[in-house]
């Protein structure tokens, strides 16, 4: 049992190390200095208070997106629609932030709730179609992503602005920004969202592992036939899982809309955070605590990469290659497991 758990931790760690080594090889082959490159990356992520603040800010939506993917996955569903759920959540949060003027204790929770509800609705549709008509959720969620992107752009142009490219700034009463956190981190864009995302991780763990609802969701995820036999309503659980997953994704959007940007602008393409959430969930083993660690890694890579071109002349695209390599090695964890067992055998 404990040996198994150790392997579960070692596999992603090895995957990350292998990804970094492979990234170094790519840098050498392309004529860049990997030591300078990685030093710049590390400095850019954790080098001073400002960078640390930026990294934590970036980690925030990654945690929530990872939780959204993992929650659906634990119930046997593959939610590729986190990106779209995030976009509608972002839009809903900013809408509430702009349209109302209320005391902060009401306004901020209301805006976050609106984001969660919008994401939940975007998750409900594929969940319902799956439960009622057995339409595969992967197809529907992919399409829902495009609907979310273009509907959101249309709403920003025609409702939230006068044919402009972005909405107004949200009222301060709906903002997650914190002068205290900003001053602590040398005026980075760090906001209170990180606390919300950590609470969300605890909520996901508690919901899945400790509650009756979580028991049902996990049972349905592992074996629908046995769940049906046991008297559980399989269809209701499928919809519920997608709704909760969508709500996590919607809150991830609220982090961007109420914290990082304080507005919403017309997007030429996807933010990528929702898709990165799939990788975060995978690397984190679909486990709430693992997702936090994986999100920290992804956030650090994303933010640290910005320092690489100026400090080491390494293009940021290389960081995307390193991230891709890490995901590649996690996905081929079977190989790593094989090597680990081989080492263990020889050690005996």
């Amino acid at each position: 049992m404990s040996e198994n758990r150790l392997t579960n931790i070692l596999v992603p760690v090895f995957a990350v190390i292998l990804g970094i080594i492979a990234g170094a090889i790519v840098m050498i082959v392309s004529g860049y200095d990997p030591i300078a490159g990685y030093s710049a990356l590390l400095y850019g992520a954790f080098g001073d208070r400002y960078y640390i603040g930026e990294t934590i800010r970036q980690v925030t939506p990654y945690i929530l997106a990872g939780l959204a993917v993992a929650f659906a996955f634990r119930t046997g569903l593959f939610n590729i629609g986190v990106e779209g759920q995030l976009i509608v959540g972002w839009l809903a949060a900013v809408w509430v932030g702009v349209a109302f003027e209320l005391p902060k204790v009401i306004h901020l929770p209301l805006a976050i709730f609106a984001a969660a509800a919008a994401g939940a609705l975007w998750g409900f549709i594929p969940g319902f179609l799956k439960a009622r008509f057995r339409v595969h959720e992967v197809i529907v969620t992919i399409m829902m992503n495009y609907i979310a992107l273009y509907v959101s752009n249309a709403v920003i142009r025609s409702v939230l602005s006068d044919q402009g490219f972005k909405s107004e700034k949200i009222h301060p009463s709906a903002s997650l920004r914190s002068e205290f956190l900003q001053s602590l981190t040398d005026y980075s864009t760090l906001h209170y969202g990180i606390i919300i995302s950590l609470i969300a991780a605890v909520v996901m763990w508690f919901l899945l592992e400790k509650t009756t609802t979580g028991y049902e969701l996990r049972a349905v995820g592992f074996n629908q036939h046995a769940s049906h036999y046991a008297g559980m309503n399989v269809n209701r659980n499928i919809i519920l899982a997608m709704v909760i997953s969508g709500a996590f994704a919607g809150i991830a959007g609220a982090m961007e809309g109420l914290g990082t940007f304080e507005n919403v602008s017309v997007k030429a393409g996807f933010t990528g955070v929702g898709f990165d959430g799939i990788a975060v969930a995978l690397l984190g083993g679909n486990n709430a605590f693992g997702i936090i660690l994986a999100a920290v890694l992804f956030g650090a890579l994303k933010v640290g990469a910005l320092e690489m071109p100026s400090a080491a002349d390494v293009p940021t695209e290389l960081v995307d290659i390193v991230i891709a390599l890490i995901i590649f090695f996690v996905a081929s964890s079977y190989l790593i497991r094989l090597v680990l067992t081989r080492f263990k055998k020889e050690g005996k």
Binding site: T211, T212, A219, F222, A226, S227, H228, A230, G231
Partner: protein, 509 residues
């Protein structure tokens, strides 16, 4: 005496676990030799050693007197050893011939010479009386036929020594009889057969000699003509085994389950249960005998609410339960040991403890205000594990890691513990060894003696005859006869199951 195969003092160790401890098995030319042992006794390990899948840690193997080193299954093939696997290895969308030649296709000018292959397959099939159509698609033929294709596969590759791994587990009684004829025909043609099994009746019927192993150790080899099922069973299990389960006459009470004119359609929309009538009383075990596919599965799934029925009535203690949800039916007092324990009975990736509350997890004390009480859940699990002798390292072990018999004991413990008025047991002992079968039969009878109604569905006539107080024969979705097990014979049941009318007068509903 000439031996075609000699496995002498074979030893095979996995880590600290000794799977085979100096086992000797000698196969004479032209005999059917049974390898008998409980599940997990080491039968499969020994055969995998012979087939080249494992390398032995000690001992030697001789084929026709020559010492050999079987490094992999190809070597075994070259030595004329063929294996008929329990789980068929066939490509569903290919024809019989295509499956048989797979891996050793005859070619003509770079193309597969399918005509030549078909001719060869037809010849082989006729020679051994297999009656297989070489052009049929695997997906379209019965399980029994698929098994014959597996046999043909080994013969096509020139096997003289055939290993049958639990071949009757998937067959109907008729198919079993046909298989026995085939095995006898094979032996007549000079083949030698090793039959892996834990079914004593088959050994008595078809085998010449039997080698018994228990917990990895060779117990000995006997001539079948000089032994009997009781001796074999005690050698295999290591203690006395009672076949005839002891039971008192039933104290029959009021009707618990009353089914009237029930009509159920199967997944393809074909009527599977056709205006069926059946009553099960408190304090009796009613066995449903029938060939697989005569509506048993649909009947049970309709009673338990897993599928919807078209019309008719199902009453439990007088209350109509037809087309209620599985949970409503469960709460009315129905326990269900499902036919497929992996599909319906367990969440294999849940710990065994969490599986013990699969229908009760939402009730106190297991759940309070939506929060699970793991202490109560695992206390219950520990109690059931002990009471029903579920052998597991602990209650946190995943259900997947348990052996079939222990998984089944866990399910039975869970269902019996809920104390249902009606217990439905579908094939409760399929794939289990005599020790576990005895245990399960005792538990079913215990429920009966407590005044519960028990509905048993089984394809094993022995089990039906042995455990039931009344036998209902199902044929094409109807109960065609109800007979008293003390006044019937396997022959009569077999005929009724095949659809022939009852000759003598009897109760028929």
């Amino acid at each position: 005496m000439e031996y075609v195969i000699e496995m002498l003092n074979i030893r095979k160790v996995f880590g600290n676990f000794v799977a085979n401890d100096n086992i000797t098995l000698q196969l004479k030319k032209g005999e059917i030799h049974a390898l008998l042992g409980e599940n997990g006794a080491g039968k499969s390990t020994l055969m995998n050693v012979l087939f080249g899948l494992y390398q032995p840690d000690g001992g030697e193997i001789r084929v026709k007197g020559k010492k050999v080193n079987i490094a992999n299954p190809n070597v075994a093939n070259d030595l004329g050893i063929g294996m008929v696997h329990q789980h068929f290895m066939l490509v569903d969308t290919f024809t019989v011939t295509e499956n048989i030649i797979l891996g050793s296709e005859p070619t003509k000018g770079g193309q597969i010479d399918i005509e030549k292959a078909e001719k060869e397959v037809r010849e082989l099939s006729e020679r051994y009386g297999l009656a297989v159509d070489p052009k049929a698609k695997i997906a379209d033929i019965s399980v029994g036929m698929q098994q014959r294709v597996e046999i043909l596969k080994t013969l096509y590759r020139g096997a003289d020594i055939l290993i049958f791994d639990e071949p009757t587990a998937v067959l109907t009684p008729q198919e079993i009889q046909e298989l026995i004829q085939i095995m006898k025909a094979l032996v007549r043609e000079g083949k030698s057969i090793i039959l892996i099994t834990h079914k004593l009746k088959e050994i008595m019927e078809v085998c010449d000699r039997v080698t018994v192993i228990r917990r990895g150790k060779g117990i000995g080899t006997l001539n079948v003509s000089e032994t009997n099922p009781n001796e074999l069973a005690s050698l295999m299990v290591g203690r006395e085994v009672h076949f005839k389960t002891e039971k008192q006459p039933p104290k029959v009470g009021k009707p618990v389950l009353e089914i009237e004119n029930l009509v159920v359609k199967d997944a393809r929309g074909i009527t599977a249960v056709d205006h069926l009538n059946l009553t099960v009383h408190a304090g009796e075990i009613v066995g449903i005998a029938g060939v697989d596919g005569n509506g048993q599965t649909e009947l049970i799934e309709a009673i338990t609410g897993l599928i919807k029925s078209e019309s008719g009535s199902i009453r439990l203690n007088g209350k109509e339960i037809r087309n209620l949800t599985p949970r409503q039916i469960t709460e009315t007092g129905v326990g269900h040991i499902p036919q497929d324990r992996h599909k319906h009975g367990l969440v294999l990736d849940f710990p065994i403890g969490e599986n013990m509350v699969l229908q009760t997890y939402y009730k106190e004390p297991y759940s309070k205000r939506g929060i699970l009480n793991f202490k109560a859940i695992y206390d219950k699990a520990r109690q059931l594990i002990q009471e029903f002798d579920v052998r597991t390292p602990d209650e946190y072990t995943k259900a997947r890691a348990l052996s079939g018999g222990n998984q089944q004991k866990a399910i039975i413990g869970r269902e019996v513990d809920r104390d249902p008025d009606l217990l439905i047991a579908a094939q409760p002992t399929r794939g289990l060894d005599v020790g576990a079968i005895e245990f399960i039969h005792k538990r079913l009878i215990e429920q009966r003696d407590k005044g519960k109604a028990v509905l048993l569905v089984s394809f094993e006539l022995d089990e039906i005859m042995n455990v039931s107080d009344r036998i209902a024969v199902i044929y094409e979705g109807k109960i065609v006869a109800i007979v008293d097990p003390k006044e019937t014979t396997e022959q009569e049941l077999g005929l009724l199951m095949a659809g022939s009318k009852r000759k003598e007068a009897g109760v028929s509903s």
